[in-house]
Symmetry: C2
Subunit: 572 residues, 2 copies
């Protein structure tokens, strides 16, 4: 994975000492030198390296391949590399590239292909936004959108298909209401439904709004939405390419240099591989195979996957053990506090899960298992313990528990004993806090979103967002981690503040911790000689600002392998 390179000082001292023999060596090394000569030195107000012994430096040098050559004093680095390209950012702060430890790139991209209609003041603004959005869509593809709310509009009445037809006579348009409980179709979309929507029939659990003549108005409620959803074509290859392009751009623009993509199909891996082949994969992707699909067997046949450029790998498998807390699908050891008699559900029976984990181990793959409820987490702990056996303590396995939202207090030390990674998403806590207590009650909250408890036990935390379930923006994750407040500062003092992380810890979770969780910590997650030059340039030092300003801390640029993947317009 790591191409050899010759560090500047070593090469120069070699030349001084060796004389004639050195000349021979120099000739011998000519090819290598030509590459190494192309060095960049960046200096900034502060560079947070993430390296324990040397937390902050002034400058950093890297080579043409994007490998860090040196960190340290600006003057010394410029002396060592007199012909280096210089980047001077005297007001900026550099941090290691942020890595989202649990996310879904393709889902984000597909969501980004829907027009955002939230906050529209009237239907004219809806049409205007749709027109602008449609400009980048291939001909004939459906225009999908979401976020409209007729209560924001002057007439405060449901819209109709006719409102859309003038602007979009042929292209089907299908727009989800802000709450997801109604959809607004144009006539082209209604025509695409292979069934006459007129008359007086209604689907079970839903409603087709109709005019006086019995014709559908264009708004479908609840289960009636499925009539249109069913005929929206799955994204074709060009749409999927566009989705990935947009997801990568969104991630890079928010300071992400890496993403652990959870549940990747072979088709998605192919798409990412083609992007990587063409140099378009502007975020480093650690793909975890969809454990329910064909990808795991492909990895078993061919071995863990590594793209030669280092930007894409698939060395692990994502499994689902239980559901989610909001929908009461998370598997609990005792009844839901707000639904007696119900304990959630195991999506995968424990025996099948164990067989799958055993198979992953047998194939040299790293399991990453979704478990949200305390029973789901216990199933994962029991299964990992059984499959790993004595190797739990000996090995370097880094098996992962994804989410681990509610953990029985007595199970918590087992994360350390089994040397597991807790892959957690700070914004899930601040999204769930309004109702999480209703679901599990006060006693079980002791082990809920318990970042600091785990951290205190020495468990490695890999932090992430689960985007697009939450925002792709890791600044929101850092903010949630250090405040346990929503972006309006609620609740005051934070929700269960004893589980907060400090900023250094949160940043470590989004850099070193995530890198470690993917066996990447020897080249990612810190700024250190030999490591990849993946970093983010910020307008201010995050350690010097009020935590409430973290969500708005400007990201000036994002760099991967020593090259910018995002530059804020005007910051150049």
């Amino acid at each position: 994975m790591r191409p050899s390179h010759y560090s500047g000082p070593g090469r120069h001292s070699g030349r001084r000492v060796m004389g004639r023999q050195g000349m021979v060596l120099a000739g011998w090394l000519m090819a290598g030198m030509a590459a190494a000569a192309d060095v960049t030195v960046l200096s900034a107000a502060r560079i947070h390296t993430g390296v324990p012994g040397r937390p902050a430096v002034e400058a950093m040098a890297w080579d043409r391949e994007g490998r860090i050559l040196a960190i340290g004093d600006r003057a010394r680095l410029l002396r060592s590399h007199p012909s280096a390209r210089r980047i001077e950012l005297p007001d900026a702060t550099v941090i290691p590239g942020l890595i989202d430890g649990h996310a879904h790139l393709m889902n984000l991209g597909i969501a980004l292909l829907r027009a955002d209609l939230a906050g529209t003041a009237d239907k004219a603004e809806v049409i205007a936004r749709l027109r602008a959005f449609a400009r980048n869509l291939p001909d004939g593809t459906w225009l999908l959108g979401r976020g409209w709310d007729q209560n924001d509009w002057p007439e405060a009445a449901f819209p109709t298909a006719a409102d859309l037809d003038a602007a979009f006579p042929d292209r089907p348009v299908w727009l989800e209401r802000v709450d997801g409980h109604a959809g607004w179709a144009n006539s082209a979309a209604l025509r695409a439904v292979g069934r006459d929507l007129s008359g007086d029939w209604q689907p079970e659990g839903g409603r087709i709004l109709r005019g006086a003549t019995g014709k559908p108005t264009g708004v479908l409620v609840d289960t009636a939405m499925a009539l249109v959803d069913a005929v929206v074509p799955p994204p074709d290859r060009s749409m999927r390419e566009e989705a990935l392009r947009r997801a990568l751009a969104a991630a890079a623009s928010h300071g992400l240099t890496g993403v652990h993509d959870m549940g990747v199909s072979l088709a998605d891996l192919e798409l990412m591989r083609r992007f990587a082949d063409q140099g378009l994969l502007k975020v480093r992707v650690r793909a975890y195979a969809d454990g329910a699909g064909a990808a795991m067997e492909a990895l078993c046949a061919m071995g863990p996957y590594e793209h030669p450029g280092g930007r894409l790998s698939m060395r692990g498998v994502k499994f689902y053990v239980d559901g989610a807390l909001g929908s009461r699908g998370a598997a609990l050891l005792a009844d839901y506090s707000d639904e007696p008699g119900h304990r959630g559900l195991l999506i995968t029976p424990p025996e099948a899960f164990q067989a799958a984990v055993q198979r992953a181990r047998d194939c040299g793959l790293q399991p990453a298992s979704h478990a949200i409820g305390d029973r789901g987490v216990r199933v994962v702990l029991d299964t990992y313990a059984r499959v790993l056996g004595d190797d739990a303590m000996r090995g370097n396995h880094r098996w992962r528990v994804e989410h681990a939202q509610v953990i029985a207090r007595e199970d918590m030390p087992r994360f350390g004993e089994l040397q597991l990674i807790a892959s957690m998403q700070p914004t899930h806590a601040t999204s769930d806090m309004p109702w999480a207590g209703d679901r599990v009650g006060e006693a079980r909250l002791q082990g809920a979103y318990a970042w600091r408890s785990l951290w205190g036990m020495g468990v490695v935390l890999a932090l992430g967002s689960d985007f697009p379930v939450e925002s792709v923006d890791p600044r929101l994750g850092l903010y949630a981690a250090v405040t346990r407040q929503d972006t309006h500062g609620q609740p005051p003092g934070g929700w269960r503040p004893q589980e907060r992380l400090d900023l250094a810890e949160a940043l470590k979770g989004f850099t070193w911790g995530a890198a470690y969780a993917a066996h990447d910590e020897l080249e990612l997650g810190q700024l250190h000689p030999g490591y990849r030059a993946d970093f983010v340039v910020l307008a201010a030092d995050p350690f010097a600002i009020d935590p409430t300003d973290l969500p708005r801390l400007p990201i000036l640029s994002t760099w991967l392998d020593g090259k910018p993947t995002f530059t804020q317009p005007g910051s150049e």
Copy 2:
């Protein structure tokens, strides 16, 4: 794929010329030299290199990695490598390792896990052979066999389950008759059938032999065999490992250093990869993915597969276009001569085949398409031409037609125009010759098994066996290619002898041609500096013996990467 190495003469002359500077280089190269010092020099009566300008030499030197360093005079090579390990074979002849261009390793291995009962003189010999065979079988697994013929036994009557039960009271035993039209089960096997076989019912198209009391005797005829076949467990992992082990041993013992394995599943690739990881893959395997399974999509996702050791790759896909001639499944342009109104069948519709070929191309994979009848071949030619377009002439694609048994005369030049590989199996011709004329008639025989016609047009022939359909023994393929006779010398003069190859051509088809067909010709198929030391040691020079002796020409040893994979007992 090719590790760098320093050829002996270059290194030595460098040391002489360079003096002090050379010493520096020598130090620099120390690691490389240590490896290069471990050289082997083999000398033989004759080494057929397969290299056009230097067809025969006395000696060959290779390094520890199994790369050929030099070929040439024995005295010179020994002078250049004074400390080399020496192998002196003054009576033997060396040829490049034989490569079977179309075969099925796992099927061979599974077949080798059945006891061979052909030629047994009585039931006692059957029991004795079965007992010996069972010694290597895991407990509880079925004992399968084939080849018995009650007409060879003194009583000349069908055997019974009771004949087997004393020796095998618990292990199910299931033995196919020599013609495949009857099976002989013991009581354990009959019990495994989930249905009472007593009474007077009979399956459609078959017969259950029964005694006076209506109980089954143990012999099942034709479709009745399916009652037992259905309950024979598919081979488990240890059985499949054993099957592969036996297939590899069989291939190596017959002088094969390479096999193009056609239609490999992901599960089989995994097995081969694990063998390769452990250094157990004693034949170089070029796997072609089963185009009907998940393997192609896995390759599309992850890219063509290469095992780092060079012994296993999967860079192509096997498709089926039509059936076989014997069963009248091969697709013909006109009616079968012996079945008016019938033209065979296309297993894959042309549109689906074209989509699959297009997909293979899009994924950078090489198609290898089974086509036996003249219509099947034409579908392949038309499809390849459409998908390749102008790249047919420009590219380096080496798309393959497997079997190409019956080709319309007017289609023959298209093999050259499209730069296709004809992957043909000489023993198919000599197996089919008794009835091939009945199937297709005299006119179409003009383009049947037409090796020399294609050769004469400059088409690259990759020769193989299609084992286990035919014997794994490539000596039989060479013999069939040069004689077009069966092993009894029939028919005199050979069947359609104008299509014979000479021995040099046949050998080229089993070495260089097969290597070329897998894009391996820059390191396999010839004995040349820089190539892999894959070769076969024969007791005599095949060019110096009567062709009728080819099937019995002793193979003394087989070598892969400069190490023996087979040594004839007593020949060491």
